[in-house]
């Protein structure tokens, strides 16, 4: 009888702990700083590096023996995408099949203090959408093998430096101070980026924090992009005027050189 009571207590203990976490503020919370909260894409933009640093604030005693782990992710604005597959038709390689993906982040980097599988369970990953395959939402229909297309997105964007898995790159000191740096590539899409920080113990998320990073084209880049999309006719005519002026002045300059 005693033994049964003990088993019951052991089984209920984590549940009680979990309920407590959901109801009240967790014993550990995150204080975060970013090296920059906005990224300006200028004409000579050549990528950027974001430093994420912070500290763990403890308001109560920590349960359990599991060490603290930190996961930091930076996510670009999600956009729909069309993924196409090539195959050989009539001896030529051409697009034969396409799948519409509802939303895939244009940029995604995830940095951790240890190998990914050691810091979080797959259930928790599914719930918070932390790993790259989880961050790509809802693959649409159009193929018998949608998984191939999702993998292709990850492969292509990883090769382009747009998706990054950075295991063991978050430095954690004394279970309190953490920092990492994440490189944003030059071929960045503008929009609202989001940095998320998760604390885990025993592969369960104990606390999380979200910060916004604004990525915007500025100056001439902004002007040209806005003009092209909001006043396309004016933009088109302006492009022609520039082209004709350049053509005319080149001819005039070289005529002047020749006449001297």
């Amino acid at each position: 009888m005693k033994r049964l009571a003990l088993i019951c207590a052991l089984m209920l203990a984590p549940l009680a702990g979990l309920a407590q976490e959901d109801d009240e503020t967790p014993p550990e919370s995150i204080v975060v700083g970013l090296s920059q909260e906005s990224v300006a894409i200028t004409a000579n933009f050549n990528g950027s590096e974001i430093l994420v640093f912070g500290a763990v604030r403890r308001d109560g005693p920590v349960e359990g023996e599991d060490p603290l782990e930190v996961i930091i992710s930076i996510e670009g604005p999600p956009r729909p995408a069309t993924v196409r597959r090539m195959d050989r038709n009539y001896g030529i390689w051409m697009n034969v099949e396409s799948v519409e993906i509802d939303a895939a982040p244009t940029f995604y980097a995830v940095a951790t203090t240890a190998p990914f599988n050691e810091v979080i369970t797959s259930t928790e990953d599914l719930r918070h959408r932390i790993s790259i395959p989880r961050a790509i939402r809802a693959v649409g229909t159009g193929s018998d093998r949608p998984a191939d297309f999702t993998q292709a997105v990850i492969r292509i964007r990883s090769d382009a430096g747009l998706y990054q898995v950075l295991e063991n790159t978050v430095t954690l000191r004394g279970e309190t101070l953490f920092n990492t740096s994440i490189a944003l590539p030059a071929n960045l899409v503008e929009g609202d980026y989001r940095a998320r920080i998760f604390l885990t113990r025993g592969r369960e998320v104990v606390s999380s924090y979200t910060a916004a990073i604004e990525v915007r084209k500025v100056g001439l880049e902004r002007l040209i992009y806005t003009l092209a999309h909001e006043r396309p006719l004016v933009y088109g005519l302006l492009s022609l005027v520039i082209a004709i002026a350049a053509g005319w002045s080149a001819s005039a300059v070289f005529r002047y050189i020749r006449s001297n």
Binding site: R88, L233, L237
Partner: protein
């Protein structure tokens, strides 16, 4: 120096673009062609999205053609009436071409269409030029016989709506130039080229125009057709990148003048055989890419975001 292109949304080395513009400019100055058929594939190779490359190249051709046509106006080697007829055809063709381009873009076959067009047209033109210039070299070595007379094509003269083209010295139906114009307009919109490399042979061999007015008239017509397709691309696809166009045309107009000087030192047959080899090389590279299994079978399109 890397520069971020606002429409293409990629970072490219500005000097690479200036250099490409210059290189293609030199070639176009040497051979008297617009160079669009070389520049657009080169832009594909350095990673500019095909839709942006095609639209922007059309804009750049406006600049180089305008620069070229001014010289021809001075020499009075532009047949405005013929140019006008070709232009009407060209505008119809460009409108059709952009429609076709957008329809194929929606079903994901635009890259294939652009590349196939390149392979077919570069292959035909390159091969014809190669054979023709080899013959010319062989002939000039043997003896300087009388030039072969061009025989008149009966069916062209049987067509209605005949009119007189004074500068070209032709009495011809408007239908053949109109059709040539439409064909070149479609190509200009799809391939991002002026179409000079198709137009010039068509004017000489199909319409029978005298060679001295061919280049000026073709340039005159190309300005308007490429300007029109630039506008269509800018308003329907938002794919004209002004920064890219400026970098290319600065290199291009300087290169064209340098190329014209180099051209003086080479014989016409040598020039043509070099151009033919170059055209065939570009064609071969594109054909190779279509026939050999690519390393990555999947591609991501972002059409949904625009």
């Amino acid at each position: 120096m890397l520069i971020y292109l606002p429409i293409a949304e990629v970072s490219v080395n500005a000097f690479l673009l200036l250099g490409l513009g210059g290189l293609v400019g030199i070639l176009s100055g040497m051979f008297g062609v617009g160079g669009g058929f070389l520049m657009t594939p080169l832009l594909f190779f350095i990673g500019i999205p095909p839709a942006v490359a095609v639209a922007t190249e059309a804009n750049q051709i406006v600049a180089s053609s305008f620069s070229g046509v001014l010289a021809h106006f001075k020499r009075k080697t532009v047949d405005l009436k013929m140019g006008g007829v070709l232009l009407v055809g060209g505008l119809i063709g460009a409108a059709l071409g952009v429609q076709l381009f957008n329809a194929l873009r929606a079903i994901g076959q635009v890259d294939l269409l652009v590349k196939l067009s390149y392979v077919v047209f570069l292959g035909i033109i390159g091969a014809l030029m190669f054979v023709e210039s080899l013959n010319a070299i062989a002939k000039s070595r043997k003896a300087s016989g009388p030039p072969p007379r061009r025989h008149h094509r009966g069916w062209i003269h049987a067509l209605p709506f005949k009119t007189r083209f004074r500068t070209s010295g032709l009495y011809l139906s408007v239908i053949p130039p109109l059709l040539v114009g439409v064909a070149v307009g479609v190509l200009a919109a799809i391939m991002g080229v002026g179409g000079g490399f198709i137009m010039v042979p068509a004017m000489i061999y199909i319409l029978g125009m005298p060679t001295k007015v061919v280049v000026g008239t073709s340039l005159f017509q190309i300005i308007f057709v490429t300007a029109f397709s630039t506008l269509l691309h800018a308003t329907t696809n938002f794919t004209v990148d002004m920064v890219l166009a400026v970098l290319l045309l600065v290199g291009g107009v300087v290169g064209a003048q340098v190329g014209a000087r180099i051209g003086v030192y080479l014989k016409a047959e040598q020039l043509r055989i070099l151009l033919a080899i170059m055209v065939l090389a570009v064609c071969g590279k594109l054909a190779f890419d279509l026939l050999v299994q690519p390393a990555e079978l999947f591609s991501i399109g972002m059409e949904g975001s625009h």
